[in-house]
């Protein structure tokens, strides 16, 4: 029930922000469209913890702020590689082990890796991610450890020490 309420609030806020015309007719239409969206989401059975993760909004936004800084730091070497006169890159495929357990946390971690310039997640299998990196020397397991831990905490809200329990 809480998930449904969260979805209604977020959809309503989105509609109000995107429309900007607050007349009775359009507000009625908004209620109808939100109702249809909720109906479709319920029929798809996506109204659950992973489909409606708004309860964790503060943690997710905190993680996002950290990720933004990382993205901008990672942009720099790739920009340099693009514009320097001599092509000088060292691409590699590396395996990264993750401590994220839920699919939601894994999705966040894999998407974060892909979002960061210079690394792309090619495949996810169990708790191992196949990552293609533009510079082998920057794609060490340590370089992903902090992102892994932070995304696990943001999505699941548990301390990383518990990550060892299930393999």
């Amino acid at each position: 029930m809480g998930y449904l309420l969260g979805l209604i609030v977020v959809l309503g806020a989105l509609w109000l922000g995107l429309s900007g015309i607050y007349e009775p007719l359009l507000l009625t239409l908004s209620v109808i469209s939100i109702a249809i969206s909720i109906l479709l989401a319920a029929r798809l059975e996506t109204v659950d913890r992973e489909g409606v993760p708004y309860a964790r909004t503060p943690q997710l936004f905190a993680y996002w702020a950290w990720l933004l800084v990382e993205i901008f730091k990672a942009n720099w070497p790739v920009i340099k590689a693009c514009v320097r006169a001599d092509l000088d890159i060292n691409p590699a495929l590396v395996k990264v082990k993750t401590r994220c357990e839920s699919d939601f946390a894994k999705t966040i971690f894999a998407n974060s890796i892909t979002l960061t310039p210079g690394t792309v997640t090619v495949e996810v299998e169990g708790d191992k991610l196949l990552v293609h990196a533009l510079f082998e020397e920057e794609a060490t397991p340590d370089s992903f450890a902090e992102m892994d831990e932070r995304s696990a905490r943001a999505a699941d809200g548990r301390k990383s020490s518990k990550g060892e329990v299930t393999a």
């Binding site: 993205i71 901008f72 942009n75 790739v78 693009c82 001599d86 974060s112 979002l115 310039p117 690394t119």
Partner: protein, 121 residues
């Protein structure tokens, strides 16, 4: 306090235009990278500059140029969806290439002859 607001209102359009320009420059750099890099996977990395850095700077610049908060909200929504869908698309491409058996170029790539680069400025 009104003076501070005046200064902010005067600086805002200049800063916005500057950020849009920097974002456009990053998009061009990303395109150059896409054209220069040797194989599919490395080109994906160059494209991610356009996806992240260029898009963010351009959208922040546009938000500074926006006349009303409603437009700022829309730009923020665009940015949010771009950051959620961008990596999903990149991953789908990379995963499809990997599944189809495309082997990435591995190891140090150098073309030490910067002098004969036809694009060299």
């Amino acid at each position: 306090m009104p003076e501070v607001m005046d200064v902010i209102m005067a600086v805002k359009p200049v800063l916005g235009a500057f950020l849009c320009l920097v974002g456009a420059g990053l998009a061009i750099i990303g395109t150059v990278g896409v054209l220069r890099f040797p194989d599919f996977y490395t080109r994906l990395h160059a494209a991610s500059i356009t996806d992240t850095g260029a898009a963010t700077l351009t959208l922040v610049g546009m938000a500074l140029l926006a006349p009303t908060w409603l437009i700022v909200f829309k730009l923020a929504a665009i940015w949010l969806f771009l950051f959620l869908t961008g990596p999903t698309g990149s991953h789908a491409l990379a995963n499809a290439a990997h599944t189809a058996g495309l082997q990435p170029v591995i190891g140090r790539q150098r073309d030490g002859a910067g002098a004969d680069d036809e694009g060299g400025a």
